[in-house]
């Protein structure tokens, strides 16, 4: 529940108060903002943009123990995002603008006569302007047992943490009351926690507010297909508890009972207007602080914005975009702008991804206007449902999209106008009939592309033509478009490219300053012409001005990787340090180890599938002890040894190779590890031998050079202990074979992998992975992981499926033979290096003193191991913006 009593943290900004403001601060009027949610933060930004933070003393009272975060993406916490990553408050924002933020200290009362607010801590603030952005609270239906231990609501990070904690100790089954938007989010969260999950919805379908019956049916099939049990058309009568007072189930209105150890109420929200009620401000019959078009309450000193406000059109908006508009409206009024904004109501169109299903609704989705016509496309096989509502004269009034909401970006802005093509063509899938994909190019300039920030197509075009933006990030910065929910980013990209091309600007898609070709084009050149050297490629195919130059740090490793990937096919040496190739490699590849911050290297031998004998463990332990290395277990189920100097690498590796280890390629853009659980061999739940499969795959693809690192995992059953769905290619055992997932990622932008194919035999699985990896290597951009590649390439997952499963391009034979050649030519780079005195000669700290270790590489003790002793005199540095290099994690 929102009412937490977390510690009153001293604010990060109190000390910095006044930093943004000049000396006249005493004379500045005070603005108190109650509530620091998404809308509150947006309001602060709107103030800052208008220079109002310098003219006011701004104080924020926030009930939650943390600053504003992205509540819309709350569920992504379960896919690995930390609370910090959900934060919406840019570091230093408060200090920079001199804003005082009081966390964990909610406002408790307002005295409008005296114009003061009192917070829970006793802090009393005088205000000249008060802005209420208190949001809403979850509605819990008055059923018996609703306060039992094990009942939760789903609104804040604290709620989420409480659910997670309770589920871990007491629950295997959970029920969500409410099948609306938030209910589905909550059910997804419970599923993410590994609970068997039920959804109980009183209405006859899921998401009754947004979708119609047909859309609800498509959604139901997809949601049930994910293993969630859905009960529609029934109410919750009572929460049942056991003798220990904890939840044990629910009694339903149809007389049935449902066993559940945990209940989440997600049956809608209500405006939090108590503070306003208590100080006598008018509120609506069904709640909400009544405001006028400038979001001002009856009291001229008090405003209300976001979900707590009852707008002048008599509605309470529970979406973030209208809340943002209200925030801008108040800021505009406070700035006394000549033409202040007015909030008269908002578009409640939404597009979201719930449980991985795209759902969108816009305009008059239910055909409430009367006298309107429906155009419907429904495909129960694929779970796609699309409905457009049009008027008799062909004007698009609204629509519902379930399962495929790709067209949302185009359709929503067209609402209210007659589309340039027949509505049938707008709902048919691409490729069916005469369906013409209608891009954002067809939209009028007035069409709103980004509804979160209300940015029109005209403004985006202007950013390119008048403000000289040439890339999507620049346009985002200039217009704010695409920085809210992100659903318009694709349309944004298309518009920017179209506008640049229309303006005669050639969009440079080249790899770097040396090549005007993309990586994929270079791949095709290397393969077709059998190019085996960088010099040949640069002088023959580089930009005119770069030919016969030194090249650059961007294209050198890319070309080295291409030649290495294609070495067997073009007749190049597969050894990455031969001849000219040696000069192209990043230092990690050059020394076959990972450079660390003090100039020392780390060493990672391959441990296929994470399986290792005690003898080999002892060898690693002995080596680490003898060379004084810092050891750490990696996330990929192997062991990293840190702190080796260049000249120690060959000695360390000769001992490792003697003990049967080989290079783990932790230094390369290549296969890292194939992680596994113990599988059917030991685990009582396992259905396949995941360890054997992981070892087979790791040995098959070891040493494969690719556009970026590749990670994989194999899980022996659907419990997914190996976390295969967060990998570039992940395999999960089924009772009849293997499911193959692709395009997963952890790291900064986690992505769940997509299912590429189901119930594969061993041979089918391996063949598909061969094709998938080679297709990725062929078509990806440098340092583009499979996750972003899959998001970027035209047609996305469906296209990749067509190519690698159905061989739609007729290239599978070639992809397989390229992989076969790689496997046949694989040799351990470290064993090869040790066999060659000339190659070994470069492993010295100094060319003129080969026996002298680098004296600047020094260590100090920490927790019984070593850590780098860092030089005192570095100036510290930020990476230049142009840098492409990825991280060097194992």
């Amino acid at each position: 529940m929102a009412a937490n009593t977390a510690t009153t943290e001293t604010t990060e900004t109190r000390a910095a108060t006044g930093a943004g403001g000049p000396a006249e601060s005493a004379a500045r009027p005070t603005l108190v903002l109650v509530g620091h949610g998404m809308v509150g933060q947006r309001f602060l930004e709107a103030l800052a943009e208008r220079g109002l933070t310098a003219r006011h003393r701004v104080v924020v009272l926030c009930e939650e123990p943390r600053p504003a975060y992205d509540r819309v993406r709350l569920t992504s916490y379960f896919s690995g995002r930390s609370p910090e990553e959900l934060s919406l408050t840019e570091a230093g924002f408060m200090a920079r603008h001199g804003i005082e933020l009081h966390l964990g200290d909610p406002a408790e009362s307002v005295d409008r006569e005296a114009r003061t607010v009192t917070a829970r801590s006793g802090l009393r603030l005088s205000y000249d302007t008060l802005v209420l952005a208190t949001g809403s609270y979850p509605f819990v239906p008055p059923v018996p047992g609703r306060d039992a231990e094990g009942c939760f609501v789903y609104r804040t990070i604290e709620d989420l943490l409480a659910i997670e904690e309770y589920a871990g100790r007491h629950a295997t089954t959970g029920a969500v009351v409410g099948g609306g938007l938030l209910g589905l989010e909550a059910a997804g969260a419970l599923k993410g926690l590994g609970l068997t999950s039920h959804i109980v919805e009183f209405a006859p379908r899921l998401m009754p507010v947004q979708v119609d019956e047909g859309g609800g049916a498509a959604l139901l099939r997809t949601v049930e297909g994910m293993g969630l049990a859905v009960h529609t058309g029934v109410g919750t009568q009572e929460v049942l508890t056991g003798e220990d007072g904890r939840v044990r189930g629910m009694k339903l209105s149809d007389g049935g009972e449902l066993a559940a150890d945990l209940v989440v109420f997600s049956a809608g929200v209500r405006p939090r207007d108590q503070l306003a009620r208590d100080c006598g401000l008018p509120v609506g019959e069904r709640g909400g602080i009544a405001v006028d078009e400038s979001c001002r309450t009856e009291d001229p000193h008090v405003y209300a914005i976001g979900e707590c406000a009852l707008a002048s059109d008599g509605r309470v908006y529970g979406l973030v975009a209208p809340g943002y508009e209200m925030a801008e409206t108040v800021a505009s009024a406070l700035a006394a702008e000549e033409a202040p904004l007015a909030f008269t109501g908002a578009d409640t169109s939404t597009k979201l991804k719930l449980l991985g299903v795209d759902v969108a609704s816009f305009g008059d989705a239910h055909g409430a206007a009367g006298d309107c016509l429906d155009v419907v496309y429904a495909n129960s096989r694929t779970g796609v449902y699309k409905k457009l509502v049009v008027s008799a004269d062909g004007t698009l009034l609204g629509g519902v999209l379930v399962g495929d909401a790709e067209a949302y970006g185009t359709l929503r802005p067209l609402t209210g106008s007659v589309p340039p093509v027949d509505p049938e063509q707008l709902v048919l899938p691409a490729g069916a009939g005469d369906a013409a994909p209608l891009g954002p190019g067809a939209l009028p300039d007035s069409a709103v592309i980004c509804s979160c920030h209300n940015v029109s197509k005209g403004s985006i075009r202007e950013a390119v033509t008048a403000h000289s933006c040439t890339t999507v990030p620049e346009v985002k910065k200039c217009t704010k478009a695409g920085t809210g929910c992100g659903s318009c980013v694709k349309a944004l990209g298309q518009l920017v490219t179209a506008e640049l091309e229309a303006g005669g600007v050639e969009v440079d898609k080249g790899l770097c300053r040396c090549f005007d070709r993309t990586r994929q084009e270079l791949y095709e050149i290397v393969l077709a012409l059998g190019v085996t050297s960088y010099r040949e490629l640069l002088d023959g195919h580089g930009r005119e001005e770069a030919r016969r130059g030194e090249g650059c740090e961007v294209c050198k490793p890319v070309v080295a990787s291409l030649i290495a990937s294609l070495a067997p096919a073009v007749g190049a040496s597969g050894y990455v340090l031969d001849g000219e190739q040696a000069a192209l490699q990043d230092t990690n590849d050059h020394f076959l180890a990972n450079l660390q911050k003090n100039g020392s290297y780390s060493v990672v031998p391959r441990i296929p599938g994470g399986e290792i004998t005690p003898e080999k463990l002892i060898v690693i332990g002995e080596i680490a002890r003898d060379f004084g290395l810092y050891t750490k277990i990696t996330g990929g189920q192997r062991i990293d040894m840190f702190g080796a100097r260049v000249e120690q690498l060959p000695v360390i590796w000769s001992r490792l190779v003697d003990a049967g280890f080989e290079s783990g390629h932790a230094y390369g853009k290549s296969l890292r590890t194939v992680k596994s659980c113990v599988g059917s061999t030991w685990c009582r739940y396992g259905v396949q031998d995941s360890v054997r499969m992981a070892i087979d795959l790791e040995l098959r693809y070891r040493g494969l050079r690719s556009p970026h690192k590749l990670k994989s995992a194999v899980s022996g059953c659907a419990r997914e202990c190996a976390e295969a769905q967060s990998k570039d290619f992940g395999v999960i055992a089924t009772s009849s074979g293997w499911n193959l997932y692709v395009g997963g990622n952890g790291g900064a932008t986690p992505r769940h992998a997509d299912l590429l194919a189901k119930d594969l035999s061993d041979a089918e699985l391996v063949r598909l992975i061969d094709r998938f990896l080679m297709f990725y290597i062929r078509t990806a951009e440098p340092l583009e992981r499979t996750a972003s590649w899959l998001e970027r390439i035209d047609g996305g997952l469906a296209h990749v499926q067509d190519v690698v499963v159905h061989d739609s391009l007729g290239i599978c034979g070639q992809l397989e033979s390229l992989m076969a050649a790689h496997i046949a030519h694989y040799r351990d780079e470290w064993a090869e290096t040790l066999d060659d005195p000339e190659r070994l000669a470069r492993f010295v700290s100094f060319v003129n003193a080969p026996d002298t270790p680098d004296p600047t590489v020094r260590f100090v003790p920490e927790r019984d191991q070593i850590k780098p002793e860092l030089p005192l005199l570095s100036i510290g540095g930020r990476r230049p913006e142009a840098s492409l290099e990825g991280s060097a994690r194992v």
């Binding site: 300053r513 040396c514 010099r535 130059g549 030194e550 090249g551 650059c552 740090e553 050198k556 490793p557 001849g579 000219e580 040696a582 000069a583 192209l584 990043d586 230092t587 990690n588 050059h590 020394f591 450079l595 911050k597 003090n598 100039g599 000339e838 700290s845 100094f846 060319v847 003129n848 003193a849 002298t852 680098d854 004296p855 600047t856 590489v857 860092l870 030089p871 005192l872 005199l873 570095s874 100036i875 510290g876 540095g877 930020r878 990476r879 230049p880 840098s883 290099e885």
Partner: protein, 124 residues
């Protein structure tokens, strides 16, 4: 390396002058032979006073030397960076945080306020 065989200069001595004084012909330090360098790649040199230089051979056969210490991190690693050229001037890109340094004058191309030492080099 065995690949550079055509020019008699391959076995020529590469010398470096550690001090930045105007003269001092006696101060040249012999560090390696020319064929010990790989075009596009650097090596580290330990100087008599304990400081380090990074020595590079570009693909036209010119030798350059700058300080080996990366001023942004304090680590002695510039010799291990990738080289390139911008506007016809060769540079090295630090392998740690990727700042680029002009091989002829030591200027950092990504931060005007930073410069690394440059050493005179010659082959004899």
């Amino acid at each position: 390396m065995s690949t550079v065989t055509e020019a008699p200069a391959a076995t020529a001595q590469v010398q470096l002058r550690p001090g930045d004084g105007e003269d001092g012909p006696a101060d040249w330090v012999t560090v390696c032979t020319l064929d010990g360098l790989l075009p596009g790649r650097g090596v580290a040199v330990l100087l008599p006073d304990g400081t380090q230089a990074a020595l590079f051979l570009d693909h036209e056969g010119r030798v350059h030397a700058i300080g080996n210490r990366d001023p942004f991190t304090g680590a002695a690693v510039l010799s291990r960076g990738l080289t390139g050229s911008a506007g016809g001037r060769p540079y090295v890109c630090s392998p740690l945080l990727k700042q680029r340094f002009d091989l002829a004058d030591g200027r950092c191309l990504d931060d005007e306020s930073v410069r690394v030492p440059v050493y005179a080099v010659r082959t004899v």
